[in-house]
């Protein structure tokens, strides 16, 4: 029997259905691996040990009674701590929501449960998903399993690390400007941000509502396809959700052929600031796609240089509005102002001052500024127009090519602490992912090689970008690349990993 940590979700489900292990045994293997590794990595904020084992017993009983197993039957999953599961703590990595238990379950979480998955716990994240390193979590950073002195990226750091280190085969994150694709790249796994509207946001705590998308992590493309088929599709609770059924894989059968596929290579994604090793790994990956039959076509996305300011104006504006709800009245922390119990306004301002961390405050203030009277048109209004130009760049490129490929992150995993004092340097981590978010189109980070840094091997991600609704297409290209290379099967060196072996 193959060890738990080597199995993707599909293989684990098969192992259970073949009778090699029960769901309960699989949960024990998952929990043992978390116990062995998480003290050093800090992927989880909470582990639902008893509930997971109880549910495992129910699933084993259902299987024994002849019930038809779902597509994720018996698969342990982890959720980013901004996803609602009724009755479980969802704190968004923030002191202001410490202890908050949602009174309802998110649509996408319910769909995972309906497919037979078992939620093992909630994972660490930058506070309210604002950050690219996990260092903005109020509960301490998550560490990269490839080198614990480095960040795994962010904001969905815990979910990425839980998958990369073999604690769970799949996990959900949320991607607003790169928060799933960048940590996927930095930890050597797959991370898909779907087309905006593909997955319902009902039950995802809002950050930037015109950008947020629930986005899965996995160690195989097949698993990503299974998760997407489970969680996507129309939902009456989210008016921005596409009125379509679940996402179905394009051209089933492995490996898909890429003959005739045109891959756009944007010169702006291979420009200044791209680390040499990352460039080398991505160029080698493009050569693999070419060998598989694809044609590489140079394309231009001329407004790329405007994407960071556009994103940080739009996202902070939306965040300042979304986070206005945390005022100490209905849930979360309540603090009283200098005037004691006296004023309602004092309570609001004191609660927010005490409850939010530095980066969240910075973004709320920046967002309030760009929306304030006298500045709205010059900043927010203008950013919305530049956003339209960024989308037009992609539309023009997709007139010539089927997918676009380039690096996910300009740099590999960087040391914890390196960028914490410099917000602008941290924002630049997102330069290659935010244009895709602003355009609302799908982006998939694929493990595509390694760089050596100070004697440490660090993973590199290739971002495959598709046109609007082109999710299945980028997955198909990734499946072909996966079959031709072994990068997604490389696992990080882990002290204490034997604790997870069956």
């Amino acid at each position: 029997m193959r060890p738990y940590a080597e199995l993707d979700a599909g293989a684990l489900r098969n192992s259970i259905l073949k009778g090699e292990r029960s769901v309960r045994e699989a949960m024990r293997e998952a929990l043992a691996r978390i116990d062995a590794l998480d003290p050093a990595l800090h992927a989880f904020l909470s582990v639902h040990r008893a509930q997971a084992l109880e549910r495992a017993v129910e699933l084993d009983r259902a299987l024994g009674a002849g019930e038809r197993p779902g597509a994720l039957f018996g698969v342990p999953v982890a959720l980013k701590a901004n996803m609602c599961l009724e009755g479980r703590e969802v704190n968004c990595g923030s002191r202001i929501l410490a202890g908050w238990r949602p009174p309802y379950t998110a649509t996408f979480v319910q769909r995972l449960l309906d497919a037979g998955a078992v939620v093992l716990g909630m994972t660490n994240m930058d506070e309210f998903a604002m950050g690219s390193s996990s260092e903005n979590s109020a509960f301490g950073p998550t560490r990269n399993p490839w080198d614990p002195a480095r960040t795994p990226g962010g904001s969905s750091a815990g979910s990425a690390v839980a998958v990369a280190s073999g604690m769970v085969p799949i996990a959900l994150g949320s991607d607003t400007g790169g928060s799933v694709r960048q940590p996927a790249a930095l930890t050597g796994i797959y991370g898909l941000k779907p087309t905006y509207g593909r997955v319902s946001r009902y039950g995802l705590v809002a950050f930037g509502s015109s950008l947020d998308q629930v986005s899965p992590f996995a160690r195989s493309v097949r698993d990503l396809e299974t998760v997407m088929a489970a969680i996507s599709g129309r939902d009456a609770h989210d008016a921005t959700c596409l009125d379509e059924g679940p996402l179905a894989p394009e051209e089933p059968g492995d490996p898909p052929r890429l003959a005739g596929l045109k891959v756009g290579v944007p010169r702006e994604h291979f420009g200044e600031g791209l680390e040499g090793g990352v460039r080398g790994a991505c160029e080698a990956a493009l050569a693999v796609l070419e060998r598989l039959g694809a044609t590489l076509v140079p394309v231009s996305l001329p407004h790329t240089g405007y994407a960071i300011p556009t994103y940080y104006v739009v996202a902070t504006a939306e965040a300042s509005s979304n986070l206005a709800r945390y005022d100490g009245v209905r849930y979360g922390l309540r603090a009283h102002g200098a005037d004691g119990d006296g004023s309602l306004q004092g309570m609001f301002a004191a609660t927010r001052a005490k409850g939010f961390g530095a980066e969240v405050k910075r973004r709320i203030l920046l967002g309030t500024y760009v929306l304030s009277a006298g500045y709205y048109e010059a900043w927010y209004g203008r950013a919305l127009k530049v956003r339209a130009l960024l989308r037009a760049d992609f539309e023009q490129a997709f007139g010539q090519v089927d997918v676009i490929a380039g690096p996910t992150s300009p740099v590999p995993a960087f040391p914890l602490g390196e960028k914490t004092d410099d917000p602008v340097a941290m924002y630049l981590c997102d330069v290659l992912t935010v244009p895709v978010s602003l355009a609302g189109i799908p982006g998939l980070s694929v493990p595509c090689g390694f760089v050596e840094e100070g004697g440490t091997r660090l993973p590199v991600g290739l971002q495959l970008v598709g046109p609007s609704r082109g999710d299945a297409r980028v997955l198909r290209v990734a499946r072909a690349f996966e079959a031709a290379t072994g990068f997604s099967r490389a696992r990080p060196p882990l002290a204490g990993a034997d604790g997870g072996r069956a």
């Binding site: 238990r101 009174p103 309802y104 087309t195 905006y196 509207g197 015109s210 008016a239 921005t240 959700c241 596409l242 405007y306 960071i308 300011p309 940080y312 104006v313 300042s320 206005a324 005022d327 100490g328 009245v329 849930y331 979360g332 922390l333 309540r334 009283h336 119990d341 309602l344 306004q345 309570m347 609001f348 301002a349 004191a350 927010r352 001052a353 405050k361 910075r362 709320i364 203030l365 920046l366 309030t368 500024y369 304030s372 500045y375 010059a378 900043w379 209004g381 203008r382 919305l384 127009k385 530049v386 956003r387 339209a388 130009l389 989308r391 917000p423 602008v424 602003l438 609302g440 609704r469």
Partner: protein, 108 residues
């Protein structure tokens, strides 16, 4: 009209204080000073947006492909009050308790 737009790079501790009031967020003097300096730097970088000619460009207000979605105007059940009040920092009967805003003794 571009000529009517104010110069959009005003920053510094005074701006931070004014914006913090709008955002209902207490900031200390030290925070205002530090954030003011950061704002100046961030906004300076963001001024690159001013260089683009955006005349005639329609703003992209969102990324939704769903169009205008409506449902029938019929009442549907909502979450029970008890479940929602369970997270209240302070509860007075079936209400959220907050500091009194108009005259008299505070109840509860």
């Amino acid at each position: 009209m571009a000529s009517q737009e104010p110069r959009p790079a005003e920053s510094g501790p005074e701006t931070v204080r004014r914006v913090a009031e709008l955002a209902r967020l207490d900031v200390t003097d030290a925070e205002a000073a530090a954030l003011g300096a950061q704002f100046a730097r961030i906004l300076e970088q963001f001024r690159v947006l001013e260089k683009l000619d955006v005349s005639g460009v329609d703003p992209m207000v969102g990324a939704s492909l769903a169009g205008d979605v409506r449902r029938a105007d019929e009442p549907v059940p909502s979450l029970p009050a008890e479940a929602l009040l369970a997270n209240a920092p302070r509860r007075i009967g079936d209400f959220y308790g907050v500091p009194r805003t108009v005259g008299g003794e505070e109840a509860g």
